[in-house]
Structures are given as structure tokens and as C-alpha cells.
């Protein structure tokens, strides 16, 4: 039986995400009959906002490799790219952390069942 187990890191993360918002603006327009009229124009814009999401990453490999990967996550402030990032080799993660993670922040987790 091969001796490979994993460590799952899970919790609530905080990161910036682009969000489309719509705001109203009053604009003056000259009609064909030369009458100036004010109307409301809806404008769509992209804003980056902080969002909170539950994420999980499972690192497979030896205890030593996983410890190194965990230290990397702590040092660089990395969070998983997607909701569930499973079946990640710890060795591969140490070499290419950008494949599986992005910059973000782990925040205090509320009392919740383990994912």
C-alpha cells in the first residue's frame, strides 16, 4: 500500500473581485426642436470589491513536502483559485504555486462544518 496521504487546508478567504455595477447620471440633451432636456442615463462600470468565500485546497504527498507547501502559503499569502482545489501534488505546488493559487487573505472562520 503506497504511503501517501494529504492535508486539506480550508477556511474563509477574502480577495478582490471585479463586479459590474450600474449607476445613474443626469445628462443634458438638445432635442430636434432645439429644446434642452435633462434625462437619466444608466452607466455600467466595473469596480473591484472585496468578497468572502469558503475555499479548500488538498495537498497530497509526504509530510515534509506538505510542510514546505504550507510555509509557502503562509509566507506569500496565497489562497486557492477555485472553490475546491483537490488532488494537488505538494511537490508540484512548491514548484508552480501560481497554477493552483492566487494572492489573497485567509480570514477568521465562523463555526461551521468541515467541507
Amino acid at each position: 500500500m503506497p504511503k501517501t496521504h494529504a492535508v486539506a487546508l480550508y477556511g474563509t478567504t477574502k480577495f478582490k473581485q471585479l463586479k459590474t455595477i450600474t449607476y445613474k447620471k443626469h445628462v443634458w440633451k438638445t432635442r430636434k426642436d432645439n429644446v434642452k432636456q435633462r434625462y437619466i442615463k444608466k452607466i455600467e462600470a466595473r469596480r473591484s470589491v472585496f468578497v468572502y468565500r469558503d475555499r479548500r485546497i488538498t495537498l497530497w504527498g509526504s509530510a515534509k513536502d506538505i510542510r514546505k507547501a504550507k510555509e509557502l502559503i503562509d509566507k506569500k499569502g496565497l489562497i486557492p483559485k477555485q472553490k475546491f482545489v483537490d488532488k494537488v501534488s505538494a511537490r508540484d505546488f512548491i514548484e508552480h504555486p501560481e497554477k493552483y493559487t492566487k494572492e489573497g487573505e485567509w480570514v477568521d472562520r465562523k463555526e461551521k462544518d468541515s467541507p
Partner: protein, 144 residues
């Protein structure tokens, strides 16, 4: 210089495996958890176990024998079937945990601190502890 202060991590981490049977027993006493561990160790020939206290009245059980994922699920849901309608009342927490693990495709038990809870610590050893139990302790010590 004042002693080195560890910065607390804000995520939780747990030991994950597909090669053995783990149990998360909530709202139980040590006596009850020992009885359950003893009973199923003998029934499924699992040779040994570790009982860890995760918080007050919550215990984790790690069985020593290596199993395939198919066998693990078979044994886990046999226990769930009996334990859901326990003699002290319905205890669905193990059922919820087992369903989550089956969805995930692996079993996870916490080995870190979580909110106000301390990291789990071993309260009872029984039989052989040279396979999965040894791996569990190794991962726990390495990631402290």
C-alpha cells in the same frame, strides 16, 4: 528578547486519506467512543486504533489497518447505519460528516486549532499503531 511568538493561522487544516478508516464522533463520552472503536476494530479486523480528543465531548478515532477506498466506504456506512439511531438517541452528526467525506472522495480529520478549540490530542491507544495511526501522528507532528 522575548520568546518567539507564533502567528496564529486563520485557516484550518486536516489529515486527509483514502487508505484507512477514520471516525468523527461528536457529542459522545470517552467511554462511548472507546466502546464503538473496540467493537468495530474486532468486527472489521482493524488491529488497532487511536482515540483523540478534539474538544469537550468530541472525539476522533483513527483505525490502524490500511484499506482500499471501497472497503473504507463500506465499513464507514455500516457504522453510520448503526450509530445514526444510537441507544442514547439519534446522533446524525457522524452521518453528515460521512456524507461530506463520501462527496469529497477522501476522509479528513482536523489536526490544527479551530476558533477556540485546541488541536486534537491522543487520549487512548490500543493494539498495533504502526500503519495509519503512525502516519497520522507523523503528519500531525510535522505540521505543528
Amino acid at each position: 528578547m522575548i520568546g518567539k511568538r507564533k502567528i496564529p493561522h486563520k485557516y484550518v487544516y486536516g489529515f486527509t486519506t483514502t487508505k484507512g478508516l477514520l471516525l468523527d464522533l461528536d457529542n459522545t463520552t470517552l467511554k462511548e467512543s472507546s466502546a464503538i472503536a473496540e467493537k468495530y476494530m474486532n468486527r472489521f479486523h482493524l488491529k488497532g486504533y487511536l482515540i483523540l480528543r478534539s474538544s469537550e465531548n468530541n472525539y476522533h478515532v483513527v483505525f490502524n489497518h490500511y484499506l482500499t477506498w471501497k472497503k473504507t466506504l463500506e465499513y464507514l456506512f455500516k457504522i453510520v447505519w448503526r450509530y445514526h439511531y444510537h441507544e442514547h438517541g439519534v446522533k446524525p452528526s457522524l452521518t453528515y460528516w460521512a456524507i461530506l467525506q463520501a462527496c469529497k472522495g477522501s476522509e479528513t480529520l482536523r489536526i490544527s486549532t479551530k476558533n477556540h478549540k485546541r488541536m486534537p490530542r491522543i487520549v487512548r491507544k490500543h493494539g498495533e499503531t504502526d500503519k495509519l495511526c503512525k502516519d497520522y501522528v507523523e503528519y500531525m507532528k510535522e505540521l505543528q
